[in-house]
């Protein structure tokens, strides 16, 4: 059984800048972490691997060359191999273009039974890419998965939805995206760390993946960021300073009463 996991490097803080001209994120390269939900995805894959004898796990990341580090970390956590999708032609890819590139990378990984992704990345926050990959691979894709039971030829998933949970059974191959209820994130092991040093990560650019550079990057992205701006926030604010007396709170109470809030 072959499991693929996507790992994305994301900024470790909120302090990310956007290029006001192109609307593309400026990634400083410093202070990056693996997207937390991808670590849940990876942990789940390793868990399945540890419970059976026939499981192989490949981690795939798309990003700058430095994203190789994320793949090494994935191997240290227990993945068997890493594939890096990297090249200037990918810059500015929206979710559609990213989905296409990742789908092509999965094909490079060989026959795949199960793809596990984090439900969304903490930077873009769209949660769209994973299911788009499912579409390009022409396999079923499911989302918001909070538990997953692997059977011989299928997987039974529990999805967290608005008013409860849905149980769905899907035969392999299938892609699922998971939320953080699925497990407690695992840690790299010493054995894994040593292995990460020796296992080479394969890297592909667009031509290496057999896709035209017009299908990825800004060229392959239907959406365009046309403007970035600071939000205009304004209400007619009544501002009081706390001065140790009851006065401001009393005025607040009168205000709330006048607005029929209490």
């Amino acid at each position: 059984m072959h499991i693929v996991v996507f790992v994305k490097q994301v900024p470790g803080t909120d302090n990310v800048k956007m290029d006001p001209e192109t609307g593309v994120m400026i990634r400083s390269g410093k202070d990056v972490v693996i997207n937390p939900l991808d670590e849940n995805a990876l942990t789940e894959a390793i868990k399945i691997k540890n419970s059976r004898s026939d499981v192989r796990v490949t981690a795939i990341s798309m990003g700058p060359p430095a994203a190789e580090r994320a793949l090494k970390e994935a191997i240290a956590m227990g993945a068997d191999a890493g594939i890096l999708v990297s090249g200037r032609e990918f810059a500015g890819s929206d979710t559609i273009a990213t989905g296409k590139a990742l789908a092509a990378a999965v094909k490079k990984a060989g026959d795949v039974d199960l793809i596990i992704c984090g439900e969304r990345a903490t930077d873009g926050e769209t949660g769209q890419t994973a299911v788009m990959v499912a579409n390009y691979l022409d396999i079923p894709g499911q989302t918001y998965v909070s538990s997953l039971e692997v059977k011989d030829t299928s997987v039974v998933i529990k999805r967290t939805v608005e008013r409860g949970f849905e149980l769905v059974e899907i035969p392999f191959p299938v892609l699922v995206s998971v939320n953080k209820d699925i497990n407690e994130i695992g840690m790299p092991t010493l054995k894994g760390k040593l292995k990460a040093k020796t296992v080479p990560v394969s890297a592909y650019d667009a031509s290496g993946l057999g896709i035209s550079s017009t299908e990825v990057g800004l060229n392959g992205s239907p959406t365009r960021v046309v403007k970035v701006f600071s939000p205009k926030l304004s209400r007619d604010t009544i501002l009081k300073r706390a001065d140790g007396t009851n006065q401001p709170v009393e005025e607040l109470m009168s205000f709330l009463i006048s607005k029929e809030c209490i």
């Binding site: 079923p140 849905e166 769905v168 926030l233 009081k240 706390a242």
Partner: protein
């Protein structure tokens, strides 16, 4: 960007065939969900600006009181009807919606950022090679180009990004539930009901729906609360955060929190309000010791009345507050709790006076 050579991109002259605005309504067990009416309100204003029709796409088997969709502002219902669509299965829904889009060629489709919308819309977008923008807070029509301007908070920081889809159709976006209000009911409004009776093969999928399990553990639903008291990192620790809960209890309010407060474990994720949490629009929102980063504001700024207490006079939360107190929460909130207790106590003697 006029040099598109992607084979799967629709040719430019094709774009003019796409007309009309669609929203993707939702049902559960044959009952229309409220988010359907919120989407219709959004869609209505876009359709008015474009001078075109507004259709509501529905998938399911039997849908009760379907004409409510007209009463709330839609011109047409495009109802894809099949027992196979009773429960949500991504592929069945994807195939059905893609077929409908190929027939109807809408210019714009808006869906809700629910677990359903967020799952099926990317599938549809990928199949059609169309753009999709998630979690928009504002959707307007550009008066010059007539393109859909899709605005969403970006990177959780302090910026908004406006996105458009110039060369691909339909233009697609999701919006958070509760981020707009339904139009008033107009029972005299009617429209055209189109039932799409597609071949069962359309809905074929290897997925098998087994069961729906209702969640009975979540008692506080902040989405439905009239009043929300919300706390952030300024509450310092779990002990401090209890003050938020105490004030909420006193007011019969729901408890909200910022992502930081949730990550510190002072409360649980269902209480998180904002971009990656819930969107709420209560009558009264009380923000305590939270800065009002845009990722948080995205989930609460449409609240009717906003009160904020923060010791930093420059805190962004004050820009959306109607009444703000610059001060230490540990000084101000206990006073608030006292004042509300008194207010309640004072309300009672009046009743007593009446009865005595």
């Amino acid at each position: 960007m006029s040099t598109y050579v992607n084979a799967s991109v629709q040719k430019e002259h094709d774009l003019s065939q796409y007309k009309g605005v669609c929203v993707l309504g939702e049902q559960k067990d044959g009952q229309l969900l409220p988010v359907t009416f919120e989407l219709i309100a959004r869609g209505r204003s876009l359709a008015n600006d474009l001078g075109c029709q507004l259709s509501c796409i529905l998938l399911g088997d039997e849908i009760q009181e379907i004409e409510q969709v007209f009463h709330r502002g839609a011109d047409r219902i495009l109802f894809i009807k099949s027992p196979a669509l009773q429960n949500f299965l991504p592929r069945s829904y994807q195939n059905a919606i893609v077929k409908l889009i190929q027939e109807e060629k809408p210019e714009i489709i808006i869906a809700a950022a629910t677990t359903t919308g967020r799952t099926v819309m990317p599938l549809v977008a990928a199949k059609l090679n169309a753009g999709l923008t998630a979690d928009c807070t504002s959707l307007t029509i550009d008066p010059d180009t007539k393109l859909l301007l899709q605005t969403r908070p970006a990177i959780g920081g302090n910026i908004m990004a406006t996105i458009k889809t110039p060369q691909h159709r339909p233009q697609m976006a999701t919006v958070r539930p509760r981020s707009s209000k339904p139009l008033p009911l107009d029972c005299s409004r009617t429209g055209e009901l189109v039932v799409k009776d597609y071949e069962p093969a359309t809905f074929l999928t290897p997925e098998r729906f087994l069961e729906f399990i209702k969640d009975t553990t979540q008692t506080v639903s902040i989405e439905d609360a009239e009043i929300i008291v919300s706390g952030g990192k300024g509450m310092k620790n779990a002990e401090g955060f209890k003050m938020v809960e105490q004030l909420a209890e006193l007011l019969g309010a729901g408890v909200g929190a910022t992502r930081d407060a949730v990550e510190f474990g002072w409360t649980t994720y269902p209480h998180q309000i904002g971009l990656s949490g819930k969107t709420v629009a209560p009558k009264l929102y009380i923000a305590l010791g939270l800065s009002g980063k845009i990722a948080h504001l995205a989930g609460m700024q449409t609240s009717e009345v906003i009160i904020a207490v923060n010791k930093d006079p420059e805190a962004q939360i004050f820009k959306v507050a109607d009444f703000a107190i610059v001060g230490d929460v540990f000084e101000v909130v206990p006073m608030m709790i006292e004042a509300i207790k008194q207010h309640k106590a004072n309300a009672k003697p009046e009743l007593c006076a009446l009865s005595s």
